[in-house]
Amino acid sequence: MFGIVIAFKDYQVSKGILASNWVGFKYFIEFFNGRYFARTMINTLLISFYDLLFGFPAPVIFALLLNEVKNTYFKKTIQTITYLPHFISMVVICGMIVDFFSSDGLVTKLIVSLGGKKMDYMGSAAHFRPIYIGTNIWASIGWSSIIYLAALSGIDQELYEAAVIDGAGRFKQLWHITLPGIAPTVITMLILRCGQLLSVGYEKIILLYNSGTYETADVISSYVYRMGLGSSRYSYSSAVGLFQSVVNLILLFAVNSLSKKFSETSLF
């Protein structure tokens, strides 16, 4: 934590953290005025937002669907298959993605046979976000659904029996028993997720992007990575990283208090 002070200093390796000169908000101002501020900011927010919009409900829906499956053997097989990508290293996952979406790749061939265009999808800025979000869902849907399955198994079965006696159909049961039953878990996960709105992980981005897709793919964390470890601009990249954390913290508090107000579920 103490290292954060270098964001306000002109950090020189030879002088060390303490002896380096204070520069105040110089690096923050440089970032806000820099040519890539707007772009990395918008990309981060958009990727996060889409990830939240499509990526968050996906495991919930998946868990609900699984819950309705009565054949145990089929259910277990599906679960095993969807967990698999979680255990593969990110580097391998990204290697596969690049391969599948190249102009002779597996997915591209599928797209072409469905009447799509044959092209290198990884080199196209317009396709970066859908690919990023889509593969995120593919890689995490099984693993993320575990927590909802656990919540589902905690719902009192007598409620369903009572509902059936009252004449409730499947959808009525889902709407009035299942969903309220897992709502606290869903909201807690949502709040935690919102706290990360501004921190799109850099690993997957830097493994997938290239000069053709910087426009839609370059996010704050990948920018910090390039500046800090690529160009050795320690102070500058610390400042950018600190900015990102502060905004995340504010978002977390905001969503938490909103949730407290409207749903009575909150983290603290």
Binding site: S14, G34, V98, D104, D120, N210, S211, G212, E215
Partner: protein, 526 residues
């Protein structure tokens, strides 16, 4: 209460340990200052031995050197693919080994800054007192001296010197068997290339007649493919004593236009920006491509060996760099500098016995060191025939099926840059087993002199300028690589080239060139 007791005991034990160690330290220190016979050495491990050895200490030449000098080297290697990141982390933590072998030009602020930051030590006095061989080698050539010194005249490393007579190892390569089958001759001009690539696409069914990776258009790489015909470099280069930036020069727009046309037509690989080296390899092996930019060893040699079984007719030939009209001069090529900056061996400030360290490193600049690092151990890996070293069959025809390159890497460091002698002619002539490789050499070497004149040497900004320089170069690199790809694939119409140049000026290209120009002049005055 219990935890308090524990804390006190732990504290007491710590004190005892520290005292004990301090006692030992004092005793040893007097010995250490006199002589140290083991050093730590941080270096990137050559890719070829990763699967065979745990560390470079297992390479035979280091074991032989240990036998002769009695000095043990303990190697430390960063994880493969994370060299620069781990180097940066090591710099930030300030825990240094005795030796670091690295490209100091990529240290923020250059070698001069590394000296000032007290990461590495100045070697001028040590060269004079205990390392006469390296000094003699450096002073034997004006170019060596300029490339090895910093602007202020400090020696900072034991350099990897290019001592052979060849400098160009890469260029355009083409499928000779396809050319013969289609009755075409080796292409020279852009017009020839267009005919050949179109024929590959139409008659041979190549989906990517000319393939490449992102380095094809990158302003920071030496892959010069078709820009040679427009007499324009891709990034910074020297023209009439001035540092200029290719993307702002005459000819660049026309080159972009051609690349755009070929991209749209599908005769250069539409995946070029995302191709990995394995993707290129697969395209060559499967006949999806008939031409590419490559190297004598890494491409021609590798593919000829790879395809021998699969397709006996498969044949590759190195062809001249493309020109616009027959007989035009070629001013750019994948030319190597006289000093290979990537393997500069420096002694760090953490080394307690720099004198012995320098003496050890100096061994690589003697005749014995030259033989050891290029040919290995006499009797084992080479024998002298008529006064010339000849590799034994252990290397050339290994019974266990290792290739020449793999065997060499297990015994010495001839195949990649290392402190001392590099790319010796006697080694190259034996290393390249195919005639096609030797031909390619001769084909490309013709342009050495002209390309050398335009090559931007590694320069260092002054310490005051270094932060500004880093910021500018990061912004410019990102912007250029992005825009160039857009121009080539057509998402940005070529008419916008002028606004691209305007935007570069906005970012500060003029200031960037000024810093470079000043640094270049300091370089010339070294």
């Amino acid at each position: 209460m219990k935890s308090k007791c524990k804390k006190i005991i732990t504290g007491a034990l710590c004190v005892i340990m520290v005292l004990g160690m301090a006692g030992c330290g004092e005793k040893n220190e007097t010995v250490q200052n006199e002589k140290k016979n083991s050093f730590t050495y941080w270096a990137n491990m050559p890719a070829g031995i990763v699967s065979v050895y745990q560390s470079m200490g297992e390479i035979k030449m280091y074991q032989q050197m240990e036998k002769e000098t009695g000095i043990h080297i303990e190697f430390i290697h960063p994880a493969a693919g994370q060299v620069s990141e781990q180097f940066t982390l090591m710099m930030a933590s300030r825990e240094f080994p005795d030796f670091i072998e690295y490209n100091w030009n990529s240290y923020a602020g250059g070698a001069e800054k590394a000296l000032e930051d007290n990461v590495i030590i100045k070697l001028n006095d040590l060269f004079d007192s205990v390392a006469p061989n390296v000094k003699k080698m450096i002073e034997s050539d004006e170019n060596y001296e300029k490339l090895v010194k910093t602007d202020s005249g400090a020696y900072f490393c034991f350099p990897a010197l290019n001592t052979g007579s060849y400098r160009i190892f890469g260029g355009p390569i083409i499928r000779k068997d396809w050319l013969d089958e289609l009755g075409l001759s080796v292409p020279e001009t852009i017009e020839d290339w267009e005919t050949v690539l179109r024929a590959f696409k139409e008659k041979k069914g190549a989906t990517a007649p000319f393939t490449a990776d992102a380095s094809l258009m990158s302003s920071s790489e030496l892959t010069n493919a078709f820009n040679t015909a427009f007499n324009v470099g891709k990034g910074l280069y020297i023209r009439d004593g001035k540092v200029v930036f290719g993307p702002m020069e005459n000819g660049y727009k026309e080159w972009l236009q051609l690349m755009n046309k070929w991209y749209a037509e599908g005769i250069i690989d539409n995946d070029y920006n995302t191709n990995s080296s394995s993707a290129i390899e697969a395209k060559v092996a499967n006949g999806y491509t008939g031409a590419f930019f490559g190297y004598v060893g890494g491409s021609i040699g590798k593919y000829l060996t790879m395809m021998k079984q699969q397709d006996p007719k498969f044949d590759l030939v190195g062809v001249p760099y493309p020109v616009m009209n027959k007989g035009d001069k070629v001013n750019f090529a994948a030319i190597e500098s006289d000093v290979l900056a990537g393997a500069a061996l420096s002694i760090t400030s953490a080394c307690t016995d720099p004198e012995t360290a320098a003496k050890w490193a100096d061994n690589w600049y003697t005749e014995k060191g030259r033989m050891l690092s290029t040919f290995g151990v006499e009797g084992e890996t080479y024998t002298m025939v008529d006064g010339k070293p000849v590799y034994t069959d252990t290397i050339l025809k290994n019974p266990d099926g290792y290739s020449i390159s793999e065997m060499l890497q297990q015994h010495c460091r001839a195949t990649a840059a290392s402190p001392g002698f590099n790319t010796e002619d006697e080694y190259l002539e034996q290393y390249y087993e195919y005639d096609r490789q030797k031909e390619a050499f001769k084909t490309w070497s013709g342009v050495t002199e002209d390309a050398r004149k335009h090559l931007m040497p590694p320069i260092t900004p002054t310490i005051e300028e270094s932060e500004e320089f880093a910021a500018l170069s990061a912004d410019i690199d990102t912007y250029v690589s992005e825009m160039v790809f857009k121009f080539v694939c057509g998402t940005e119409p070529i008419e916008n080239y002028d606004s691209f140049v305007e935007e570069l000026k906005e970012i500060g290209i003029e200031r960037y060139l000024e810093i470079n120009q000043n640094a270049y002049e300091r370089y010339l005055n070294r």
